[in-house]
């Protein structure tokens, strides 16, 4: 097991605790950067989609994982981001202005609805956000001149400083663009979580009454967290629009909201890494199931594709299995494996079992 000797407070303040961690991040980023030279267009497009989902997942993670606010309406912020970006670009604004504007629009809207919803928590908040989603969906259909109504809208091709970042004509460039944006947001998110603002989110999540006693304005903190959450999701929505190319309100269904919730819960609530792992699982699983099905068909001559709904069922069962058997999510599982490897052969079964927690009776509200 590696023991880290800390010689200054900075080793705790820094993003990476030690050099090996920093190297790992650099390698991962390097690998992601050269991906276009390693895989073909099909898988590159899949990777782009996964990155966009990871971005949306990070957005939801801020609210659900780090501030404890469950949202069933995040598809609404994807929609606001996508439509704002497309409408502004159609009006002639360049991408580098339209994208931040899309994030800002979704973020401000999110912060605004968070203020009245601040007293709600758990299932009530989830229902309220679902209602917001329904309203946004209706608005999208009604605002036909901007959104194209039921017919839909075209997300224009991206050109930056004369270079094309078109999703089809220049997929590699588009991939790099998405990667850059995702890397930047991840960096900002990681910064947030090591600073007072991020700590205030965790405080509000774990004990409102103590948060108040420490001088944290719970209403403002929740609104800020929800706003940032919606804003990041809005950015993802804008990119999703470009990735799909032509879309209407159906792209942002309530199923997307649920899938996003799965991304953060299966990935591991309360960890940025979890958003990525969850996104890989959610976007990769249909592919994996398809490959397995084709394999079965080719080798055994059994055509499982003929059974309707089988994919969805397998998909759902894997997800349910995760939620039951690994509540800490993929990231929690990975941490356990890592400790097991690092301490081999000393790891013991009960290493992760927590002390009996003291029962909180008469919790003060």
């Amino acid at each position: 097991m590696r023991v880290v000797f800390k010689t200054s407070y900075d080793s705790d303040i820094d993003l990476h605790e030690h050099g090996a961690d920093r190297l790992r991040t650099a390698l991962l980023l390097g690998l992601m950067a050269i991906l276009p030279f390693l895989v073909g267009d099909y898988y590159l497009a899949e990777a782009t989609n996964t990155l966009i989902w990871a971005l949306a997942g990070m957005g939801l993670m801020i609210a659900v994982g780090h501030t404890g606010q469950v949202s069933l309406g995040h598809a609404a912020f994807l929609a606001i981001g996508a439509y704002t970006d497309a409408a502004l670009m159609n009006a002639g604004l360049p991408f580098y202005l339209a994208l931040p504007a899309a994030g800002l629009a979704a973020g401000l809207f999110g912060a605004l609805i968070a203020i009245p919803a601040v007293r709600m928590s758990g299932i009530y908040l989830a229902i309220a956000t679902l209602a917001v989603f329904v309203i946004v969906e209706e608005l999208v259909i009604m605002l036909e001149p901007i959104t194209g109504g039921v017919g839909g809208i075209m997300a224009p091709s991206i050109t930056l400083f004369g270079v094309s970042f078109d999703r089809y004509a220049a997929l590699t460039n588009f991939y790099w663009l998405v990667l850059g944006i995702v890397a930047l947001v991840t960096w900002g998110y990681a910064n947030l979580m090591r600073s007072p603002t991020g700590r205030s989110f965790l405080a509000v999540r774990d004990s409102e009454v103590s948060a108040r006693a420490l001088g944290i304005n719970v209403t403002r903190t929740r609104a800020l967290a929800f706003g940032l959450s919606s804003g990041v999701t809005g950015l993802a929505g804008a990119l999703m629009g470009h990735f799909i190319g032509f879309f209407n309100y159906e792209l942002f269904s309530v199923i997307i909201s649920i899938n996003l919730l799965l991304v953060v819960t299966i990935g591991g609530l309360g960890s940025i890494q979890g958003a990525f792992l969850g996104a890989i699982l959610i976007t990769g699983m249909p592919q994996l199931i398809a490959i397995l099905r084709d394999g079965v068909n080719a080798n055994f001559g059994i055509d499982l594709g003929g059974i309707p709904g089988l994919d969805t069922m397998v998909f759902s069962m894997i997800l349910i299995g995760f939620i039951i058997f690994e509540p800490a999510g993929l990231y929690g599982r990975w941490r356990k494996i890592r400790v097991w490897l690092e301490t081999f052969p000393l790891a013991r079964r009960d290493m992760f079992r927590r002390h009996k927690t003291y029962l909180k009776t008469e919790r003060m509200k």
């Binding site: 205030s200 004990s207 420490l214």
Partner: protein
């Protein structure tokens, strides 16, 4: 002028008069204890001072200023810190992070600066860390610095909560039953800490406590309450000798 002045404070929950006309003042540098049987209204007095409950009548002044109209999150900034009877820590964070959360009132960076992690943010983080390390050293929490709260034994969590309150850098600290559930040795340590807080840190301590040996050892003055009403105020010995107080503890007083 007293540091804390509570005047004719009352709060009624429906028909329950949890606190009903309590007045007392705490002098700067004093250790002041509130005692009383279960359900007397002691924690409710704390909740009124921390502005979690809205008083039905009466006023609270701190440092010469009326704080009765303030919000709960404005109280820490004035220099009032508290602990909770049932421990209210941030369970999924480390001891270090819990203590750092106590530094919230001292932050001056905005969320945008935090996201960009400007040099100013790092400077402040170092500063917070230095303060928190002093608290860790004072309460001997070094071994637990990077441990999650959820895995810690009860006694340690109790201490971490005191640490979080001290991290605020308060003038007045409210301790709600700091010794409850602790062993004799742990209680003795709490007594030393309270004395150090007063002597070395210049803190004023307002505490609710059932353990009479602790009360006798550290407090300058004691207020006894029962059924939301004050019974006696004075030195620990005088208050415990007071006939009404004895009656309240024996449960023989007429309702």
């Amino acid at each position: 002028m007293s540091l804390l002045e509570v005047n004719d404070l009352a709060v009624h929950f429906g028909g329950v008069k949890a606190v009903d006309g309590v007045s007392f003042s705490v002098e700067s540098g004093e250790v002041f204890a509130i005692i009383g049987p279960n359900g007397a209204g002691k924690s409710t007095i704390f909740n009124l001072i921390s502005r979690i409950y809205e008083p039905t009548r009466g006023s609270i002044r701190f440092d010469g200023r009326d704080i009765t109209g303030l919000k709960a999150h404005d109280i820490a900034k004035l220099g009032i810190a508290r602990t909770f009877q049932n421990i209210e820590l941030f369970d999924h964070s480390t001891v270090l992070d819990n203590l750092l959360m106590g530094r919230h009132t001292h932050r001056s960076t905005s969320f945008v600066e935090d996201i960009l992690f400007l040099p100013k943010v790092r400077r402040e983080e170092r500063d917070h860390r230095r303060h928190v390390e002093e608290v860790i050293e004072f309460l001997e929490l070094e071994a637990y610095r990077n441990k999650m709260i959820a895995g810690l034994p009860y006694g340690v969590r109790k201490v971490v909560e005191i640490g979080r309150a001290l991290s605020i850098g308060p003038k007045l600290i409210l301790l709600d039953e700091p010794a409850s559930g602790l062993s004799v040795e742990e209680t003795r340590e709490v007594a030393f800490w309270i004395e150090d807080m007063r002597r070395d840190m210049g803190l004023t301590v307002l505490m609710v406590e059932h353990d009479m040996s602790l009360v006798n050892q550290v407090s300058d003055r004691v207020l006894a309450v029962a059924n939301g009403r004050p019974l006696a105020l004075g030195s620990p010995a005088d208050v415990q000798a007071h006939p009404d107080v004895k009656a309240a503890y024996l449960g023989t007083e007429a309702a």
